[in-house]
Amino acid sequence: MADQALDGAASRPLLSLRNVNMTFGGVKALKNVSFEVLPGEVHCMAGENGSGKSTLIKVITGVYKPEAGAVINYDGQSYSHMSPVAAQAGGIQVIWQDLALFPEMTVAENIAFQTVIGRWPRLVNYAEMRRVATNALQRLGVTLDVDLALNHFPIAQRQIVAIARALVGQAKLVFMDEPTASLTQSETDYLLDIVRNLSASGVAVVFVSHRLAEVLEISSRVTVLRDGGLVGVYPTKGLTQSRITELMTGKTFGYSVLRRDLGTSPVMLEVKGLSRPGEFQDVSLTVRRGETLGITGLLGAGRTELALTLFGMRKPKSGSVVLDGNPVRFSSNRDAIAAGVAYLSEDRLSLGLIQPQAIADNMVIASLDKILSRGFISSDRKRSLVNRWIGDLGVKIGKQDDAISTLSGGNQQRVAIAKWLATDPKLLILDAPTVGVDVGARAGIFDIVSKLADSGLAIILISDEVPEVYFNADRVLHMAQGRIVGEYAPGATTLQTIEEAVYA
């Protein structure tokens, strides 16, 4: 471990694990993993889904007992395994992605409820709760009305409430699981500031994140896991996003911008002066056959609202839409689908796919008429349609009748794309198609997108991650506050220029 000695190496590690092994049902979830956190350090744990990050956190917090041979040192004490009680008492706190808060209760109750539980007399001391909550928020440098119910606050503030609750437990080591997954850029910046404050006050923070930009910004060291094994521990200085991706996936990705000649390709979609007050104004754009048009911008810029309007789920107040030469005015998304528009929702879990239902059913739901035979659903046609798409898009599934929720994010997204391709669209709108998809699987999704464009489909690719549109679209539109404020050709602009414009 000497070669990993770094800037802060003088201090003894707050936590160190060695020889950690875990097996679930014959699958090795952790293979001989070591892990180390210094006091007050911001440490990043990087790895794809299934790489063992959550399992490792659960070993550290005592939820799982590692196999014999593991050595855990925490805060000067040695353990063969942790127990939840010891972890809690020692000041180890985890903020899971779902936050585990009570939306209907007040901020004070959410932050301080653990301090008043089980204490005698069994009465709730609200003044005490408010005081505890206010103190915890002050340590983070935040002021919130502690008497308001949590559901009054946006997700970023809830995140902070969850952190404040962790601090009440006298935390020394805080794990944050994908804390920025649902935050906008400015909210993320705000959160990262808080993490820095926390670290400065001596609390060690382990950051688990898919978003590599943040990883580079916030942490001093990165531990990379892959397939349950330790890839290595790296100082953040000198790492790049693509290097971390390589380490996480074990693959090298060649990034290059698209150079397709679309000059003579006919226009598939022409939008002029489209407006919906309060959502977007005066949007004009064109997409040619075989072209991928990228739209980027912060959350709340009106990207999804624009997409939903093109998909017929919202009605524009003014402006015109011409699809494949025909002026269109949709009264529902059924009209849009019939006319050849498909929309892949940004929210795969609750809007894009019907999670409890079968893979096959999710794939055919938008194109049921194609599998009818004399008015009845033909199970043969259904099976062959599903098999065709599973083959074409390389979806890895167990059985067609398994619930879609059993698939990984990347495979779910492939099913969602297949569902729309089955409707024979002319225009495919992909809204944040890589949310919740592993870095390795993202490349696979974009391979598909690229092939679809080559086959003549017009594609609108919406993403708040600028590199995604930069490397996968022929043109990039920048949307801010409901307006299109910039247009870039990736071949003629640097990524940095666009990023600066968007994140400014």
């Binding site: 019907i354 239902q357 739901i365 009845f376 659903i377």
Partner: protein
């Protein structure tokens, strides 16, 4: 052999295991405990009692699959029965002809469908909770029915209708035939038709279904309309069997239909459930009550045993789920 079993299981769905096991247990236990259980008489009584509860259960099934409920089923059935009875009365009462019966039945089904249509429209457009909407409809129909009948019976039914209620074709009672036909129609609807497919999808996630280009309002409206029409079929059978209609008749079936659905493996939150297991569950419930009857037990005790059966099934399902969980964990 195992291939055949697997095939059968795939065709009928995993929900069938529970009801079939319950069926086997009931047959064995009563076969031993009550020597005259395995007789024509038992099956005769089951065959005559099954259709009313069964048809109402079918009416309950569709809304439950969408994640809703139809609490108005029994009063919708009463209302449809009253419609038929009035038509028969106005056409000569006991002397009414077959034409009057056909006209009355058509009107009865229309009344039932109308009750469902109104609920469906309200639920689909206001997004009000189906429990509240159907509860309101139930109270409305009950009040209206009691007002119109002054709380009494409407009788004076032609003899041929009563004979239909008690006659058999090839040894199978006519009401049972109607029930079995309805089961098959529902089975076909749910497994092979777009409406059935969409019913399941809506039950799991109505917004995601709407985003997929399904007219979810239309599906909800159709589901409640069909539910109401099926209530009317039950109402007609009830009229034929009892020779009269009274508002409130069959009221106690309401919650039993919900339980029969769950015993048949229907997911209480919607999205999952099949007709055939529900049919088997209904047979089990009837066998149970007939068996207890044969042993000389009180009818009320039979109801209590139904309750115990349900609770046992819930616990067994939980145990089975745990076993499955342990097995997959051990790989």
């Amino acid at each position: 052999m195992t291939v055949l079993i697997d095939r059968a299981r795939n065709a009928l769905g995993p929900e069938l295991a529970g009801p079939l096991a319950a069926f086997a247990v009931v047959m064995v236990v009563f076969g031993i405990a009550a020597p005259n259980f395995l007789s024509r008489a038992t099956f005769g009584s089951v065959a005559f009692q099954l259709p009313e509860l069964g048809l109402l259960t079918l009416a309950m099934l569709l809304p439950i699959l969408t994640g809703g409920l139809n609490l108005a089923i029994t009063f919708t059935a009463n209302m449809a029965g009253l419609t038929l009875a009035w038509v028969l009365q106005s056409q000569g009462g006991v002397d009414a002809g077959i034409g009057a019966f056909v006209l009355g039945s058509v009107l009865a089904v229309a009344v039932g469908a109308l009750s469902g249509l109104i609920m469906g429209l309200v639920i689909a457009h206001t997004k009000a909770h189906p429990i509240l909407v159907s509860l309101s409809m139930m109270i409305f129909l009950r009040g209206l029915g009691e007002f119109l009948t002054r709380g009494g019976d409407v009788s004076g039914i032609p003899g041929f209708l009563a004979r239909i209620g008690y006659s058999s074709i090839f040894g199978i009672p006519v009401p049972l035939l109607i029930f079995i036909a309805s089961v098959l129609v529902w089975h076909l609807l749910l497994t092979r038709m777009k409406l059935g497919f969409n019913t399941y999808m809506i039950g799991s996630n109505i917004e995601a279904t709407r985003y997929s280009g399904i007219n979810t309002r239309k599906v909800q409206i159709l589901v409640y309309t069909l539910s109401g029409a099926m209530c009317a079929v039950a109402g007609i059978i009830m009229l034929a069997r009892f020779n009269s209609v009274r508002v409130g008749h069959g009221e106690s079936y309401l919650l039993i239909t919900v339980l029969a659905c769950f015993l048949g493996g229907v997911n209480p939150f919607g999205g999952f459930g099949r007709v055939i297991p529900v049919f088997v569950a209904l047979v089990v419930l009837q066998l149970l009550s007939s068996g207890l009857n044969l042993m000389g037990a009180n009818q009320h005790l039979a109801t209590a045993v139904w309750g115990i059966l349900m609770i046992t099934v819930m616990i067994l399902r939980w145990l089975a789920g745990r076993l499955k969980f342990l097995n997959t964990n051990r790989g």
